[in-house]
Symmetry: C2
Subunit: 345 residues, 2 copies
């Protein structure tokens, strides 16, 4: 019998929750009818959650509810969170990993608070210098792991090496049949380019490169992130955050313009009849909901942050991501990589 | 009579030169038939340039040729350039600003060498701490100035303040009827976000904000660069370079995907008949050739770097950019801004 994968879900976090959470759960149940190796443990107000389960006509042996009286508000700051967030749905959801009752936690709530209390409750793994927030990013053939996306705005060479180990472990857990190829994000591909921190990380990663771990491909540039040449892109949290948001802004700018031009007159509207299915496939490939979920790595347990503004379909994808991460043995992959790190540096 | 605007052009730099340069010159002459206030001074091998002018059937009183025996190769590094690039077409083209025979220089050649020799020949302006490479970036309503795009990979608060002054001067020279609004690129819009350098620059820019200079709009994020809320985006050269290239990579990824889906079967091909003109307008708006030309600011004379791989139409746009910059009195705008800077800080 397969091991049961338990996903602890903060049912109360993010816009329009718990509705989107519960409907996301419904999508997950519908799409995983052939599986019986998981349990979704929903944290939040039991009465509200039960009402919503009834509303969405959900009754399943794969769901459990863990009642909490309160939840973290969007106005809470990381500074006040430690005092105010104890025993909220977010807190208890993460806490459940400590007593072994969950394998992974998921929340669409306040990002700053989630990072602070995750770190406080789960603590950093030995040998990891800083935890990192990793995201999935489409490339030509599959998906990239990009990290750090904003957990650490300043990083040294040791942090960047850790991110490579953590990111390639995540990549292996999600895409076991692909070779993990790491690149460092820089302003040029030549070895002489970049800061002293990058040059030092480059040297260390070159020494670590190997089949048991990851293949280090050297530097890459912003225009190559989506080319598929590497599948793990390592950078500091400031640069990673700017790159991710710039890509989002550019995608929105282009698709808004396309939409405007394809609906501007009768001819273009006729054209849409002929291209409807193809444009739908195009839109589907770029749908940000499919890549929803940033993974907080480097703690003694993985935490997934769903976008606060996503909808139920986006939330479904983040539950699915949690399932696949644990199915792929993320924590074991990380420990393997970190052992390797210790023996080499 | 209007003052003559003299543009010194390195005819030999970049892929497929001098062909693209000469054809770019042809486009400029054709599109400016009603003007007589400019002179294009072409630096390079006189015989080759004359042959190409004949080939493209160009004969104009607004062109001058300044012969040089050599040009800078793409393999030259900034380190060897000082010794090897003297009296090349690029060198003499920039040098011509020193004796007052040109107002601005333009080259599609080796970027690293261009930055080094521009700085050496033209020298930094008093009161400027570091020169910056600025680019134009489309936004919803017009164009943004974004800087630094890679001249300085590490910057302090004083550098960022200078970039705001230089960038808003460039913006004023190109768009005299718009209000210059400056934002600092950061990982969040709240005042507490970002590095200590950003926080200090934020404070200094808040003090400088005013109608004579620019309106400081605070922090912005990557997804807002193209929103049009600000029109001057200030960042260090590392982040700016990554952001620019990430936007380019994202745009390419999306348009490649769109192209693939719109040509995948008979129906989509029929749809193209109906949407042809609208998609052409869409493509035209996003055509990177229209935004070709990065402006090196902060020296005692402006230098424009055309993309090395652009074609003749792209090169035309960079000549046009040079003309508009000088027409808009860039150097006077910069001096005004820097005086203002001195009196306030």
């Amino acid at each position: 019998m397969n091991k049961i994968i338990t996903i602890a879900i903060d049912a109360m976090g993010g816009d329009n929750s718990p509705d989107k959470v519960i409907e996301g759960v419904k999508f997950f149940l519908e799409r995983n009818k052939n599986k019986s190796d998981y349990l979704l443990n929903l944290y939040g107000d039991e009465k509200i959650i039960k009402d919503k389960l009834n509303l969405y006509k959900i009754s399943s042996e794969f769901i459990k509810i863990s009642h909490t009286d309160s939840s973290v508000s969007d106005e809470e700051t990381p500074l006040t969170a430690i005092k105010n967030s104890k025993n909220t749905s977010m807190w208890n959801c993460i806490k459940s990993q400590i007593d072994g009752s969950a394998d992974i936690s998921l929340s669409a709530g306040n990002t700053g608070v989630l990072l602070v209390i995750s770190r406080m409750i789960l603590r950093m793994m030995d040998k990891v210098s800083k935890p990192a927030l990793a995201g999935l990013w489409p490339n030509k053939t599959s998906l990239n792991v990009v990290l750090d996306l904003g957990a650490n705005i300043e990083c040294d060479d040791k942090n960047l090496v850790d991110f490579a180990e953590l990111g390639s472990a995540l990549h292996k857990s999600l895409f076991p049949n692909e070779v993990s190829k790491v690149s460092l994000l820089n302003v040029g591909s030549e070895e002489i380019k970049g800061t002293e921190i990058l040059k030092s990380a480059y040297k260390k990663l070159s020494d670590l490169s190997g089949e048991n771990n990851f293949i280090f491909k050297g530097y890459t540039e912003g225009n190559n992130i989506m080319s598929g040449e590497s599948n793990i892109i390592v950078t500091d949290g400031f640069t990673g955050n700017v790159a991710l948001k710039t890509a989002e802004g550019t995608a929105k700018f282009i698709t808004d313009n396309l939409k405007k031009h394809l609906t501007e007159n009768l001819f273009t509207k006729i054209s849409l009849i002929f291209s409807y299915f193809s444009l739908k496939k195009f839109k589907n490939k770029l749908d940000p909901r499919k890549y929803n979920g940033a993974i907080f790595l480097g703690l003694n347990g993985p935490v997934v942050k769903s976008h606060g503004g996503t909808d139920s379909l986006g939330f479904y994808y983040s539950i699915d991501l949690c399932y696949r991460i644990i199915k792929g043995n993320l924590m074991k992959q990380i420990k393997n990589n970190l052992n390797h790190l210790k023996s080499e540096i």
